[in-house]
């Protein structure tokens, strides 16, 4: 619960184009707006937009509207839908008090897919995160989503992990309310399930505390 009282609270949700991080930032943002916060969401892109890195910056405050770009070293929480992307954001926006929650399933960049580069091992990524963060949580959100029959639900599992971690000043029911307001009936139950599995997984899991 350490980050809950910081103002502004800077959350970065990162991943690869198509993973749906923009959708969950909007849902989290709208949940915070309903709680009376000032919410700003900005996006930063890597070199490309098709298949490239995409990060949403959520900046939440009781006092004022903030700009859409987090200054260097000012991220409080990094939620990563892809492990290398979590580390990429931590490298720029992290500081020794940043908390990280990351999916451990890689999405290979082109150079890896065509056999011209090697994706770093999970151990190496974890070591990098350990050196640059305060606390970190790891889960295979993709596996959980595939278990539900839809890999696209990875983002919802990760949203559950974020809310379930208690790092955000917003509870499960508020986020679920956003899901109910934004999804058609047919898709709602699966999204709620994915969200719920994210919550329970993070609560069962052991956080990797480094300091």
């Amino acid at each position: 619960m350490s980050q809950g009282r910081k103002d502004p609270l800077n959350l970065i949700i990162t991943g690869v184009g198509g993973q749906g991080n923009i959708l969950i930032s909007k849902l989290i943002g709208e949940a915070m707006l309903e709680e009376g916060y000032w919410v700003t969401i900005g996006e930063t892109y890597g070199a490309s937009q098709r298949g490239g890195s995409v990060a949403s910056h959520l900046r939440i405050s009781r006092k004022t509207q903030h700009g859409p770009l987090t200054p260097e070293g000012q991220a409080d929480i990094i939620l990563g839908l892809e492990p290398v992307e979590s580390l990429r954001m931590l490298g720029v926006y992290g500081n020794p008090t940043s908390d990280v929650i990351t999916n451990i399933r890689p999405i290979h960049p082109m150079a890896v897919a065509i056999g011209e580069a090697e994706y770093p091992s999970l151990d190496r990524i974890k070591q990098g995160i350990r050196e640059l963060s305060h606390e970190a949580w790891y889960l295979d959100a993709s596996e959980i989503a595939i278990g539900l029959g839809a890999p696209l639900l990875t983002n919802m599992v990760m949203a559950g992990a974020l809310i379930g971690s208690g790092l955000m000043p917003v509870g499960e029911e508020k986020f679920e309310r956003q899901l109910k307001a934004n999804f058609e009936k047919e898709r709602l139950s699966l999204n709620l399930k994915a969200f719920g599995l994210g919550v329970s997984t993070i609560r069962k899991g052991k956080r990797a505390s480094h300091n």
């Binding site: 919410v39 969401i41 098709r50 298949g51 509207q65 000012q74 082109m110």
Partner: protein, 639 residues
């Protein structure tokens, strides 16, 4: 959930800057909206299109930006408030009309929103549109917050009517494409009645009247300045007499406020935020200038505000001078986008204070980790993209032709034909339709010994936007070229908007499509059609057309964008690998499938030394089956 049509005054929504602008237009009672899509401006008109039926608006994706602005002006001439939106490149297309429209003026509110793209995040350039307002003596507004984007868009219609001329509103990526709190105002109840008054003098500027109209524009400028003096879009925060005065606009406001806060300089640095940036409110600015010795100007792209402030300060007869900091002094970058960090460092440098974002030790660690573990993610065509197969066919056809033929292109997803997933085939990229115009020129150089085949490429939306005049030109001049139309059935790059070749309009109603093939036939040019997924047929047709030289030829490569198709139907095939047939590096084909073809659905497995399919990514187009010389890739109909 955001809903810009909600008649719920004083409630708050989390709106994207572009949605806020659309909402402001609705609160002003806009009746007509038109645009050609282009990021970061596309959502303004897209949002209005979604509520068009409900609120009785007319919304259109026009063929290009000039026509979009003309549609909006037409509405204004008939008494209907209208908005046109475009990106910075689009303003150039509309400029010819705008530079005459300013002289005739308009009777009903006409707002032109231009979203600039500092850093060229989704653009070929990072042109600063604001110069146009100064050049044409038109009012310029720059929103700095999401709330202001809404409020300013609404007020822009009133200002437009007050001065009887078009009003320019300049947004930037960090406003247009970001989200924030917006408190809604009321939606008016309107019974719009359109009528063109034929008894008034014409809206026309001709040779004899131009200077008189120009003079009237200059008189208008003084009136605008006076209006701006009381504008709520200009405000100041800070001490009465700051050591340093920051003057900023647009995205610079949030960044400047943040930077001053991070450096804890609220008691010595003031921020004058201007929303009305042309003409400048001289009285207001001079009042704040007189309280400070130093001025730092923060703005995105060019030193527009900075130069105009310097000019204004030279006219202030106070006997005082100011030290200016900004782009000219090297404290703010005059290219690329500005970030809070740039401003923190600029202020720290001027005030001679130290600032480090993170400890030296942490900074060092993060740099090492980034260097060792972070891989770049390069631009690439999507899995199943028909452009990849067309560029593959062009590469093969040009190689077999053997006369050093090359491709000239323009702006669209297919600009990636410059890069490795388009096999680096494109050699020029400039404006919409420029490939065709350049080919029209190259195709007439035979008298200077030029004998290389020229292929021009354009998308279907671009064909309508700007290629048609260049094609007609080239047909009339009998230039020697082959135009390849990459017809993927929509404006894919900007979000699949319809265009005149599609069977639906912006508001979702059926519209008669203009057939590119028939149009070319009517123009009297040799035209062939191929399926972009059929690599063999496409390559053969390209070879045949390349040989049929000495005149204009057109090849239309049809295949719907894989992303659009995936929304509507299941994949065509299930693509699989026979690992017994894949012989990996021993194949001798340079690993066509992964290293050369580079479809993200095909993955090289470093452990087994064979190719595999990423089923989560593969779109099931089945084209790679034709690429593999060992028949190791096979496809099964998706039943």
């Amino acid at each position: 959930m955001s809903n810009i049509a909600a008649n719920a005054p004083n409630t708050s929504q989390l709106l994207m800057g572009n949605e806020a602008i659309a909402r402001g237009a609705l609160e002003a009672g806009v009746g007509v909206a038109a645009a050609y899509p282009g990021n970061p401006s596309s959502e303004i008109i897209a949002t209005l299109a979604q509520v068009a039926k409900q609120l009785n608006l007319y919304v259109e994706w026009a063929v290009n930006e000039k026509v979009a602005l003309e549609i909006a002006a037409g509405a204004s001439f008939a008494g209907i408030r209208a908005i046109a939106a475009m990106k910075q490149n689009g303003l150039n297309v509309a400029l010819d009309f705008l530079a005459n429209l300013n002289l005739t003026g308009v009777p009903s509110g006409l707002v032109l929103v231009v979203s600039d793209d500092p850093g060229g995040i989704s653009s070929t350039n990072e042109q600063d549109s604001r110069h146009v307002a100064k050049a044409l003596d038109l009012p310029l507004l720059e929103p700095a917050t999401f709330q202001e984007a809404k409020d300013m868009a609404k007020w822009a219609f009133e200002l437009s009517e007050e001065i009887a001329n078009a009003c320019l509103m300049r947004s930037v990526t960090r406003i247009s494409h970001a989200r924030g709190n917006v408190t809604l105002g009321e939606l008016p109840h309107l019974e719009n009645q359109a009528r063109f008054d034929i008894s008034r003098r014409p809206y026309a500027s001709i040779a004899a009247t131009a200077p008189k109209f120009h003079e009237r524009l200059h008189q208008n400028l003084s009136r605008m300045s006076e209006i701006y003096e009381r504008s709520p879009f200009n405000w100041y925060v800070g001490p009465k007499s700051p050591d340093l005065l920051i003057v900023t606009c647009g995205s610079g406001w949030f960044h400047s406020k943040e930077a001053v806060g991070i450096l804890s300089k609220e008691n010595s640095v003031g921020i004058l935020k201007l929303g009305t940036t042309w003409p400048l409110p001289k009285g207001l600015i001079s009042r704040y200038f007189l309280q400070t010795p130093k001025v730092l100007v923060i703005e995105e792209i060019d030193a527009f505000l900075e130069t105009n402030l310097k000019e204004l300060s030279a006219d202030l007869t106070t006997g005082r001078t100011w030290t200016f900091f900004g782009k000219a002094s090297g404290h703010v970058n005059p290219f690329g986008e500005i970030t809070p960090d740039f401003i923190i460092h600029a202020i720290a440098d001027i005030l001679k204070v130290n600032y480090v974002s993170r400890s030296v030790d942490y900074q060092k660690k993060s740099q090492t980790i980034i260097k060792e573990s972070i891989l770049p993610r390069d631009s690439q065509f999507c899995a199943g993209c028909p452009h990849r197969t067309t560029f593959w066919a062009m590469k093969d056809a040009l190689r077999m032709d053997g006369r050093q033929g090359f491709v000239v292109g323009d702006i669209g997803c297919y600009s990636m034909g410059l890069a490795s997933t388009g096999f680096s085939q494109i050699k020029t990229v400039h404006a919409m339709g420029s490939g065709m115009g350049i080919a029209s020129g190259l195709g007439k150089l035979n008298q200077f010994g030029f004998n290389q085949p020229v292929l021009a490429v354009c998308g279907d939306s671009t064909f309508f936007h700007a290629v048609i005049p260049a094609l007609i030109n080239a047909i009339h001049s009998q230039a020697d070229f082959l135009l390849v139309v990459l017809d993927n059935a929509g404006t894919a790059m900007t979000g699949f908007q319809p265009h005149p070749g599609t069977d639906m309009n912006a508001m979702g109603a059926p519209s008669p499509p203009v057939d590119i093939e028939k149009l070319c036939q009517a123009l009297g040019v040799k035209v062939m059609v191929t399926d972009a997924y059929d690599v063999k047929e496409t390559t053969q047709k390209l070879i045949d057309l390349l040989r049929d030289e000495g005149k204009p030829r057109v090849l239309i490569c049809r295949r719907e964008c894989a992303l659009i198709r995936a929304r509507k139907e299941n994949p065509l095939y299930r693509v699989r690998i026979n690992p017994d047939k894949c012989i990996g590096e021993d194949c001798g084909c340079e690993r066509f499938c992964t290293r050369v073809f580079k479809c993200p659905g095909l993955i090289w497995d470093r452990n087994t030394k064979k190719v595999k399919i990423d089923e989560a990514v593969c779109s099931g187009c089945g084209v790679c089956v034709e690429i593999c010389s060992q028949e190791a890739i096979f496809r099964e109909a998706n039943g």
